[in-house]
Point group: C2
Chain length 318, copies 2
Amino acid sequence: MDIVVLDEAALRARVKISHEAMAVVEAAFAALGRGGVVMPPVLHLDLPERHAEMDVKTAYVPGLPSMALKVSTGFFDNPKRGLPSLSGMMTLLSAETGRVEAVLLDNGYLTDVRTALAGAIAADRLARPDARIAGIIGTGLQARLQLEALRLVRPIQRVLLWGRDPAKAAALAGELKAGFGLPVTAAPAEQVVREADIVVTTTAAREPVILADWLHPGLHVTAMGSDAPGKQELDPEILSRADRVVVDRRSQCERLGELRAALAAGTISSDRPIDELGEIVAGLKPGRRSADEITVCDLTGTGAQDTAIAVHAVRAAA
Amino acid sequence: MDIVVLDEAALRARVKISHEAMAVVEAAFAALGRGGVVMPPVLHLDLPERHAEMDVKTAYVPGLPSMALKVSTGFFDNPKRGLPSLSGMMTLLSAETGRVEAVLLDNGYLTDVRTALAGAIAADRLARPDARIAGIIGTGLQARLQLEALRLVRPIQRVLLWGRDPAKAAALAGELKAGFGLPVTAAPAEQVVREADIVVTTTAAREPVILADWLHPGLHVTAMGSDAPGKQELDPEILSRADRVVVDRRSQCERLGELRAALAAGTISSDRPIDELGEIVAGLKPGRRSADEITVCDLTGTGAQDTAIAVHAVRAAA
């Protein structure tokens, strides 16, 4: 039995935000939509005495030859030792035999990629086909990667971005401008939302950073920052004002996403019609239905995406 | 970051059923008894379309430098391909930083060892100090390993064993006799229990294989086979007749162990005093209290043991 072991450098060299990787993640969303995916709730370990936490995700996806088991750690005293807080790896097991096929020591890189690709898939189904202005909320790694992924699916010509720290926002605007050859401007959050065709929120915020009054016809918003019970990026009114609310996994978004916050605030009720992105990818539900509707997609990240990106990584490295 | 990768052959060469390995597993039981272990419920994945299942266990154990994440797979069509049904591996993460330290491609070997060692730890605390006759129920791998482990803690001079298949029982008796230089006799289950000082049940039975009427003063029984809701090795009367019932983890044994079957049968009530083996190892509860008492230990296997044996394996390989 030959087991493939790939470290972060090898994975970074081979796995990119690309149409090819996106296609594998799309296949996982389609399988989620059609049913047959076996995806248990996230196994979460709180380690208060270490100021740390650990999450384990996995999913069996019909049609993919393997399944990933992913561990993600956050050890928040690591920066004192000169180490990043976040880390993790994936193990790929054969879906035919259960034998270990590969160990991907990615330190979270593959999660970054599959998270960005989910943003592209959401925009591809829900943003206006002619969306040209991207609005990025946040200045972290996903701010960069979500923009890169959006460019796979929409003819982005201008970028507005906002960050809580104006210096970081200005620095990121310069970096993205140089990196993508696009006009990129740091701006107030309200202006970003009012002017953009697509907004992606990428923060770890625990209170709303964008407000319902800023919405306008034709806007698509992807909220990908919230992935834990205390997190929230959107004014809960946004989910009631939107013409369409889409989620990656309803059960998970009700616990971890913007859906949780909106249900708690009472701005939407539990019988609000909500579609899963996978149902749209599978063709069971429509994507954007008109040029004017306001769409919101709440992404919390699924084990099915992990399985998809791990399968893609091993193929790309072969 | 140097990550240790050890395959099954390397682990078999370095990790043995030994007092040294037992001491590390004992430390994990003591931590379970004292509290502070963080051990989420087993993550279980059923894959009926593959005739397969997957379990994930993990535990943070105060005092141990790392934590294991273990995946165990059962793909029951594997024998048709000439592969064993069971497989698995462990990942060892630093309990200080969350970074991956080692990947142990053991195919379940470390689980076999830590399971056998738990049997030895139970016998060490609960069997009579002068226990000389071991009774083994079952003819699988754990039948062999439990006997090997018992010899670490008690002066075993004679072995009686029973298996559902008389030919397998006779063959195993011959093998153990040759391997350990002890008299080993295949016998009816009733005779095994009536004559033995320590009985270890190691089967995948779904109905009782030993009966309460066979119990006698001074006997200790370790039931390690049941680790899933449908499994049961002991007549549920055994738990009510025993003077002492001990478990590895009460919450887990109520779902997966003999405790589940006895509670379901109503032979014991939910307020029956039951101790955890870790409380005894930690000195918070007594071990065997008299020569005559009948003791039963229900083992389902814990993530804390996995963390312990993985820590030991990496040390032993260093």
